[in-house]
Symmetry: C2
Subunit: 186 residues, 2 copies
């Protein structure tokens, strides 16, 4: 099985009106997604933003927990947040994965909406269990821009509950999707 990577994308994503924006980094996204990533054996968690001030914010938060006071206060949190890397674009994250792994990752986009070429969780598990590294892409704000979907190798079926209300936080969506893809059920 190749290494699994997660990217939380702040650009290009869409706002509630469908316009392409760069969203702001949210502190709890870093914590919750790093903790889920650590739980489910994700190799690295990329925070994707082209904005230099947001880069600095991520570095400051991560440093506090990985090398600063937070690392002593809560060593378990350190083990999660040290999975975080920043990247200026999805392509940059892909290139860095390719340098590490020797081949580019399969890009798997996620969405709250159904797309014609959506793949099931079972199919996605098989792709992840294959030899190649995989990069799961999650959008902040109102989701990934359509160009990201078009450039992805696969689009994963949305998480649905017991009705058509489908507005989970990205923190919840990452957690559920990693659990569905990775956990071996007892």
């Amino acid at each position: 099985m190749g290494n699994l990577y997660v990217a939380l994308v702040h650009y290009p994503v869409v706002d509630k009106n469908g316009a392409v924006i760069s969203s702001a980094v949210t502190n709890l996204d870093l914590h919750d997604i790093a903790r889920a990533a650590k739980t489910f054996g994700v190799y690295r968690f990329f925070v994707v933003t082209p904005l230099s001030d947001q880069f600095l914010l991520v570095d400051r938060i991560v440093s506090h927990w990985v090398t600063g006071y937070g690392a002593r206060y809560n060593p378990k949190r350190r083990q999660a947040l040290e999975l975080i890397r920043t990247a200026a674009s999805i392509d940059e994250a892909g290139q860095r994965i390719a340098e590490k792994e020797g081949c580019p990752p399969q890009r798997i986009a996620t969405s709250a909406h159904h797309h014609d070429r959506c793949i099931s969780y079972g199919r996605c598990r098989k792709i992840i269990d294959g030899k190649n590294p995989c990069l799961l892409l999650f959008g902040t704000a109102w989701g990934l821009d359509r160009a990201v979907m078009a450039n992805s190798d696969h689009i994963l079926q949305p998480v649905t509950g017991c009705g058509d209300w489908n507005h989970l936080s990205v923190r919840s969506a990452v957690s559920i999707i990693l659990d569905r893809l990775i956990s071996k059920r007892g």
Copy 2:
């Protein structure tokens, strides 16, 4: 099937040293858990705290999204946050459920640790699919106090990933557990 309820407990919970404390309400807990609750058909989401200032904080946040500007800005968020109720104790939540349902709920505690009387997700699904209402209890901080575990009808098996690192946020844990208990997999 009886109605399913979720309680996010701020007292009695334990801190990192095992002392019983009352934790502070976190804004994103309300949003993320309400959104997960709405997705998975939970009937009500109780925020349990005995502290009157924390009660007021919850009411202020919920009012903004249910009747204030937030309700117009994001009607989907309103539909989630209107599931929230405050209760001064787990017992009070249980009493209010009993008044609505005609019988007290089965209390199902959750924990990041294994307990001798843990039940599986399959067993828990059967309990939830039964006639009686159920109340899923989630602890903030370092988890529910042992007295809560002792007074619960059942304790659910912890969420584990692919190793022994087991430190999800409560937001992630609620999301994964509701998905495991409610979703019908395709």
